[in-house]
């Protein structure tokens, strides 16, 4: 039931993505994180869309994960 959780959607703008292999890398690490409902990399707009449970994981933590895999986030 979605009503019990507080699901929030955040988008992160990355630098231009050129290799499709980055998709699996970023999605993989985010989807492993507890509290992440759904992570999707929009390859062609170089954005990451994450739906997550605010109680369990913070937006900063997600940004940190993306940076850790090697993809700097641009300020939107």
């Amino acid at each position: 039931m979605k009503t019990l959780k507080n699901i929030k959607t955040t988008r992160y703008q990355l630098e231009t993505l050129t290799c499709p292999s980055c998709i699996t890398r970023i999605e993989g690490v985010l989807n492993k994180e507890p509290g992440v409902e759904k992570a999707k990399v929009l390859f062609n707009s170089s954005r990451v869309k994450v739906e997550y449970d605010e109680e369990k994981v913070s937006s900063n933590r997600l940004a940190e994960l993306i940076e850790k895999v090697g993809y700097p986030i641009l300020p939107s």
Binding site: T16, T18, C19, P20, R25, G28, F43, N44, P72
Partner: protein, 642 residues
Amino acid sequence: MNAKQVNRIMYAAGILLLAAFATYLFNWSRLLLDTLLIIATIVAGVPTFIKAWKASRLKMFSIELLVTIAVIGALIIGEYVESAAVTFLFLFGAFLEGRSLEKARAALKSLMEMAPLEATVVRNGLRAIIMAEEVVENDLVIIQTGEKIPIDGRVISGNASVNEAAITGESVPASKGIDDQVFSGSILDSGYLEVIAENVGEDTTFSKIIELVEEAQEGKAKTQRFLEKFAAIYTPGIMILSVLVWVVTRDVHLALTFLVIACPGALVISAPVSIVAGIGNGARNGILIKGGEVMENLAKINAIVFDKTGTLTKGKPGVTAIKGFGIDEKEVLLMAAEAEVISEHHLGRAIVKEAEITGLKLLNKPTEVNVLKGRGIEVNLGGKSLYIGNRKGLFQNEIPIETEMESYATKQEKAGNTAVFIADDKKIMGIISIADAIRDKAKDTIDNLKSEGIEHLVMLTGDNKHTAKIVGEQLGMDDIYAELLPEDKAVKVKECMGKGIKLAMLGDGVNDAPAIATADVGIAMGVAGTDVAMETADVVLMADNLDKLIHALQLSKATVRNMKQNMFIAVGTVVLLLAGVLTKNVNLASGMLIHELSVLLVILNALRLIRFKPVNRFKPSAPRKDENVLCQKDMPLNVKNI
């Protein structure tokens, strides 16, 4: 490490390489040359090494890892020129790809940049300038010349000429007056408007377009899915092959070169980059194509089913005659208008508009409103029940049509009108005739479609037989089906589909949404502001303009062609390179260079789509497959032969 830092590193490595080249030219010292090359390798290699390290820590395989292994291998065997060239080219290639990909993807960005930033609102009698996203529903928003409209809303005062290019792709400004809809993202060319905000923030049509384009770019084409499957088999296959190369030749260097060169970079990017550029061209022209698969289907269309009202005709019908039976004409109009005040139906709106023009005061409010889809409406008006609609509804309510009324209605219909009956619970009190003009460009568009390889043109309508026949024959339709309910339209579309037919359904997306959803490709036209249509259709033509259909069809063909060219370039390059590597004609550095060039070529080829413009290919003598009827002929509703 961000892009700026990587670029600096690239420049530094480039300068070191130049220095090394100078050393080589002037024959200074071998030691200096090697030292410069090793430093260049390390400098240029750092970003690649870091990425490779990060990926392998996550147990992920990456091209950077391959390059790293190859570079270390090259350093061990003393091939310093090669190691420096490869690391530099790898960075330089990524840099060029990034730059040109940004160009290919610029359409969405330029759309986003059209987003309005601030709004002038009047609250408690005071004007204030606030951020566009802070406007709330029912705010009064003031827009002056040169300003962007910050919300979707209804004009309550003022007149203006508005450029809606951001929404519809139309560069010709639209004039807006009281009660007209205006959209966020459009620009006020001249004039002054006061608007009541209806949709704000993420609910505006403009925000939805951006969202749709963003999603559409990710929608994969069949070709793309095939390529990805291919790449999934290809990469491990290449690894096994490289091991084989090593086993056979005992040449580590050759095996590594083979491994790096075979990386499917251009291959994986070839399809999506065409699709994105094509979708981008569409988005800038008010054509939203939802993804690669839709693009491919659209390119194959050979039959189109049109909804008549609002698509082939203007959809803004006007009252042409009123007849009362036993009561005064004004009375008929007044009752009908009072009942239809709440109606969303275009015929209802025409009646209300006519009452306004005549200057009638609508006093009674309808209660117990019951909308009968495809039949009309039933309301309670001042204590009396009133039915307004067509013959189907009369039949259901068991209200008789007398001969005199029937002959009058038929006469009106033969002249191209729709006859709307006004009845209480027992008898018909009046008939209002309403007609809807054919669009100016409809005939041209239909003629052009025949030159675009569309072999079957079918028209569907809920309207009566006579009107349907008049409109359909004027436009040169192959088949005409009339008096259909919305659910019949979907059934009819299904009947037309089948062997060798790729069918598109074009409608305005409100009452023909089921039919649009049924067709191979559903196209909704002129839907700025109707969410349902934007969501159900595969292709959305934002402008209320048939021209865009030709643009969409030609664009899809150009995009699919472009995608095929790209795949050819990508596959061809890899095959040539691998052959070159195995015959020792290609080494790691030159292979890397050619590989990067092929990626660049693929992107540049896709960029041509950004500038795509439709051409007029009209040939008056286009061949027609006129003799075969597409949909089942035994349907009693085909009015072609009455």
